[in-house]
Symmetry: C2
């Protein structure tokens, strides 16, 4: 892997990612199995390949440890990092949406609360109108009238389901993921480090997008947001970039140490 990988540049775009957030993705993608530890050297090579300076990586690791997200131990001269039980719990909670594990939302409900009373909290995830929300789950309260979403929704309602900046982010992500898929078709990844770096960047960008998107069926979002396209590209890229084994990654890192 060359230090200035054009595929990495493609994925990084103009805005460099926040290092602590990038590390959350690294641990989430490579160390999600309880007890998995990532060495400081490997973490430095991964973030270095993404254009992050060693000092910035150290600061971010320190912050994540202080926040209780990761823990570390020393084994001889090596520093080994792992998710704490709290970091692991939050990572596992976000995984189904990021990796499309489990069933995707099959439908959604329009929820109407009594306009004469206060709007109950926690009902629905997108305010559609006064006392009206849209929810993937049917609320259990008998005081909420629920109606299945069916047929095409008017554009004003669909555009309420996603903020404009999320629509823009999704379209940008589609462009970058498509460019990466095209580039990989021409030149497949050459080593486990490149696979891991590109994979982490794909997961990272998708994670930052999808966690801003309500958990509703893709089909009800505005067409121009292309959430379904971004999801399909992400899935296809993660298949083309399967997670390398940690031992292969560590060995390659040692062997190719700069």
């Amino acid at each position: 892997m060359i230090p200035d990988d054009p595929l990495v540049d493609l994925m990084l775009g103009d805005a460099p990612p926040q290092v602590w957030s990038l590390l959350v993705t690294v641990f989430g993608d490579l160390a999600q199995v309880e007890g998995t530890e990532l060495g400081a050297a490997l973490l430095g090579r991964l973030t270095g390949a993404m254009g992050v300076r060693p000092e910035a990586t150290r600061v971010a690791l320190h912050r994540l440890r202080k926040d209780g997200w990761i823990d570390s131990r020393r084994v001889g001269r090596r520093s080994l990092y792992r998710l704490t039980s709290d970091g692991l719990r939050q990572t596992l909670a976000a995984s189904p949406r990021i990796y499309d594990l489990g069933p995707s939302p099959a439908g959604a409900w329009l929820c109407l609360a009594n306009p004469a009373g206060p709007m109950p909290g926690g009902i629905g995830i997108v305010p559609a109108a006064p006392h009206v929300t849209i929810s993937a789950d049917r609320p259990a309260s008998p005081d909420i009238a629920t109606f299945p979403l069916s047929g095409p929704l008017p554009s004003w309602l669909r555009s309420q389901l996603l903020p404009a900046d999320v629509v823009t982010a999704s379209r940008d992500l589609c462009t970058r993921l498509q460019a990466l898929a095209d580039a990989l078709a021409d030149s497949p990844p050459s080593d486990p480090l490149q696979v891991a770096v590109l994979r982490v960047l794909v997961v990272h960008d998708w994670r930052r997008l999808i966690l801003k998107v309500p958990a509703l069926p893709d089909a009800i979002f505005p067409d121009e947001a292309r959430i379904d396209t971004a999801r399909a590209l992400k899935q296809s890229l993660l298949q083309a970039l399967p997670p390398p084994s940690l031992s292969a990654l560590e060995q390659f890192t040692l062997a190719s140490a700069p």
Copy 2:
């Protein structure tokens, strides 16, 4: 038929009906076939049996003629009244709901208009919340989000579908129709005039109720309104009181003239 028929008293209750409105029902029930004419003597016997003074009947016939609802002609010494084409048109328009002709509403739709814009007119028949209506028909406008009503509705929404006075009127009607059905089971109607009078009073009371009830499936109204019960009693009574032929009615009226 005796002048003070206890069954008629039962149906009239405390509030005597407006005579012109009662005559609208008489013509709607007995003269809905184009060209049918009702003689002044028969009209006087029918309304008289309902406790209406002859002068009040004359005034009401005059008003209906002035309003273009009915027309009259003289044949020798007889005055014959019939619906005008306009009166007939409006009568036929109301008939399906009054007599349960044609299919009853199978379902209903919650309609949601863009809360950022004005509420479009003519969409839905019951305001449920700001920018929300309920309609038996799915509006065609692509700007209105529509959701099928399904499952039990919360009581606050069901009670919005009927004003409180309509709920009371329906419950009262149920009581009277049930009492009439019980009385007729003991003593079936004795002559065509009694049949016609009771039938007209049943239709009249039901007409005044149902035209205040939104054209939505009975099942979505509050249980305590008992609209479905009132409808079933009405149907059963109209079967027990089939419309007498006009000739039988005229002959009986002549033969039994006071």
